[in-house]
Amino acid sequence: MSFDVSVILGALPAILSGLQITLGIWLASTAMGAVLGFVVAALRHFGPQPLALALRLAVEVLRGTPFLVQIFLLYFGGPFIGLSLDPVPAGLLGLSLYAAAYFSEIVRAGFAAVPRGHVEAAQCVGLSQAQIVRRILVPEMTMLVLPQAVNMAVILLKETAVLSIIAVPEATATISAIGSQQYAFVEALFLLAVIYWGLVEACGRAGQALECRLSKFRFA
């Protein structure tokens, strides 16, 4: 028995298609999660009390249960409440909601970290509440939460692998299937690990570069 990755690489078109789906779901759910998370954090901060409580409960449930369980419940339990989704839309929705829960907490902490005085200075020159959010809080908060947001994106990239269990044809599902067919399961998972790690490194580097570029906009 020998360790030979080339057996797997023979199925390159299938691997690339899996990668494409992984990247697509990752980027889309990160973007949707960030936007939704921002909305949730803003509503919890500025919205009416009952809504804030309901959102807090939702965030706690999503953060307090394994993503594996959530995606199972969404995909297999959804039809019981009239929500029958194909694997890709189900994966996209599930991962976006999961991401939104975490992003909302990141944004909430970001809002809280903007110095109170920066808001007071804005009040003193006559900015309205909405203008303060748009012109002061959001840009300052974005700078503050960038490292955690990049970290969250990395976690989400790895969580896309969980979607293989509801038969989303992403990288993990595709490559491990090829491995099984070729009797080269270890090689397949090794290749998979290298791919994920490479993507995570690239994402981290991009985040660092962005932080560097933005560093002059923030205080040390």
Binding site: V125, L127, R135, F217
Partner: protein, 268 residues
């Protein structure tokens, strides 16, 4: 309409946080076109009083008139205290500029961006017109050359001067300063105090909470000494600092080892 003689008239002002009352029944008239310095030990309520005038804190009782206009709350003929409409609060507030101890510049905007922000966002000026006005204010504080720099690229003294330009951009009638040099290195306080001196000489109405007793004594037309949330003394520097001096003020000045205060103590 003839303007009342005081720029700021404070009547029966009380401020409590829960059960703790930090300002007790303050009555104070602030003269127009002059610099008034609020001094006193920490916890005496001087910053809270200033923040009430800036409407960053809402007084629990009493009223504040800014050029005769009620700020935030109005006393009705029957003695009931009611909140004035929001647009009126904004209008009265727009005549007041505030400078903070921590500068509070917005880090994601350049010096010029900080100065022009309200001109564009609130007053609806075109960017070109706002920048022309902003540059004029930066010139006034001697920072024209730093217009495109971000706050993180400026020294503390420069940041505070930008903050003063930001407050000036809206052409306020009154400028409030909350310990403007307290977070600056000693060699940087001079440049900020000089800008404030120039403003005072130009006839700006200024209320300055400060620990710079030397500045208070030389630039302040009036000195208000607060102690335990009350106005203990209110007079010209000559009246307050000349002997015979109030024992509480002497005690306060003795805790100051800065040259300004030492200079005042010697002749007494």
């Amino acid at each position: 309409m003839t303007l009342p003689s005081s720029a700021i008239a404070i009547r029966g002002l009380c401020k409590s946080y829960g059960k703790a009352e930090v300002l007790h029944d303050i009555d104070l008239e602030i003269a127009r076109g002059a610099t008034t310095c609020l001094i006193g030990p920490s916890g005496s309520g001087k910053s809270t009083l200033l923040r009430c005038i800036a409407f960053l804190e809402e007084a629990t009782r009493g009223t504040i008139l800014i050029n005769g206009q009620p700020l935030g709350f109005e006393e009705q003929p029957d003695g009931k205290r009611v909140r004035v409409p929001a647009h009126q609060i904004r209008r009265v507030r727009s005549g007041i500029g505030m400078v903070f101890q921590q500068f509070n510049l917005w880090p994601h905007m350049t010096a010029l961006g900080n100065v022009t922000e309200a001109l564009v966002t609130v007053n609806g000026l075109s960017r070109a017109e706002a920048e022309a006005r902003g540059m004029a204010q930066l010139r006034r504080v001697g920072l024209e050359a730093r217009a495109r720099h971000y706050p993180s690229e400026l020294s503390g003294g420069q940041q505070q001067r930008v903050a003063i330009a930001r407050a000036l951009a809206l052409e306020p009638k009154i400028l409030l300063f909350d310990e403007p040099t307290a977070s600056l290195d000693p060699e940087l306080t001079g440049e900020v105090l000089n800008v404030m001196r120039d403003l005072g000489a130009d006839g700006m109405t200024m209320v300055v909470v400060t620990h710079e007793i030397g500045f208070a004594a030389t630039v302040g037309r009036r000195i208000v000494f607060l102690d335990h949330g009350r106005v203990l003394l209110n007079g010209t520097p000559g009246e307050l600092f000349a002997a015979p001096r109030h024992p509480r003020l002497t005690q306060f000045l003795e805790t100051y080892l800065d040259r300004g205060a030492a200079m005042l103590l010697k002749p007494a």
